[in-house]
Symmetry: C2
Subunit: 175 residues, 2 copies
């Protein structure tokens, strides 16, 4: 099956009830997992299973965050993108990213994560491309993020520029 | 009159109809303008006059942006803060800043502007302090911004740190 090919309708992987997203699930790629090819789906539905998201974040060693705040953050993000693999009829969240925005000029991408078992196969790139595509459909021109040193090259390869014109990313944390 | 002193009620400077903000106007400071002391008010009301905002942005030489998109951006910002001066019974917008957020973990400050006639009197600091205070009231811990080189020291003095732990601010623009 070729990449980026089939629009996948009528999926029962995620509940699509109450979704306000304009599309929910696309079949995007067959990727390798334990010497098998598995199907991977892309969703922009905000009604994701928060326990699954917690497990995904655990898998990359992120600090746990209160589920209630995670729910608030998702509901108030401009956009979330999830990647779901389906193997033997079972669905599993393997990738996630989200963006905040003013819906007009600026957006900031946060929390890009791919499960270690599926890294190195272009899924991070797919997540970020999807976010850029959605933001551009709203004519949002300034897409930003804050990158840890080890992923700066990854984002460079996706067209992101560090400190353009000397602009510095700055952080304020509680004392 | 001392600074940061009086909670100002019943102001007619801005329409407070339909406001969802928890407070609208505080009397914050008497500042100098053409050898007079003028009163300056702080508001978090999103119903600001967009033509006044355009004039304020013109005064610092920013590129004009479509009014309709500015309205969308304000409505979808987590918070806006305005400074209004009142002289001879007339109100005038002299400062503005806003922030996007997920209402839980992260926020990004955008569009901090003070009219050139009122710069150098601490109003930029008041705008940013007010945004930090509001964000902290929601227990939002990561407050970010992108600073042009000439204002990096200004934000350093307000407690912002550039590139903490090597984290880089990155931008993607349409080709």
């Amino acid at each position: 099956m070729t990449l980026w090919t089939l629009f996948f309708k009528n999926s029962n992987i995620l509940s699509e009830e109450n979704s306000t997203q304009k599309k929910d699930i696309l079949l995007i790629k067959d990727i390798k997992y334990k010497n098998k090819l598995v199907e991977v789906y892309l969703s922009t539905n905000k009604n994701i299973n928060l326990s699954d998201l917690e497990k995904l974040c655990d898998s990359v060693g992120w600090l746990r965050r209160p589920i209630k705040k995670v729910k608030t953050a998702i509901q108030n993000s401009f956009l979330i993108v999830s990647l779901i693999q389906k193997i033997d009829g079972k669905a599993c969240l393997i990738g996630f990213a989200r963006a905040t925005s003013d819906y007009a000029f600026n957006a900031t991408i946060w929390d890009v994560v791919v499960h270690p078992d599926f890294q190195g196969q272009g899924l991070g790139k797919i997540l970020v491309h999807e976010i850029i595509k959605e933001l551009r459909s709203y004519e949002i021109n300034t897409i930003t993020l804050f990158a840890d040193p080890e992923v700066v090259v990854f984002y460079n390869n996706l067209g992101f520029v560090s400190d353009p014109n000397g602009i510095k990313g700055m952080f304020w944390y509680p004392k």
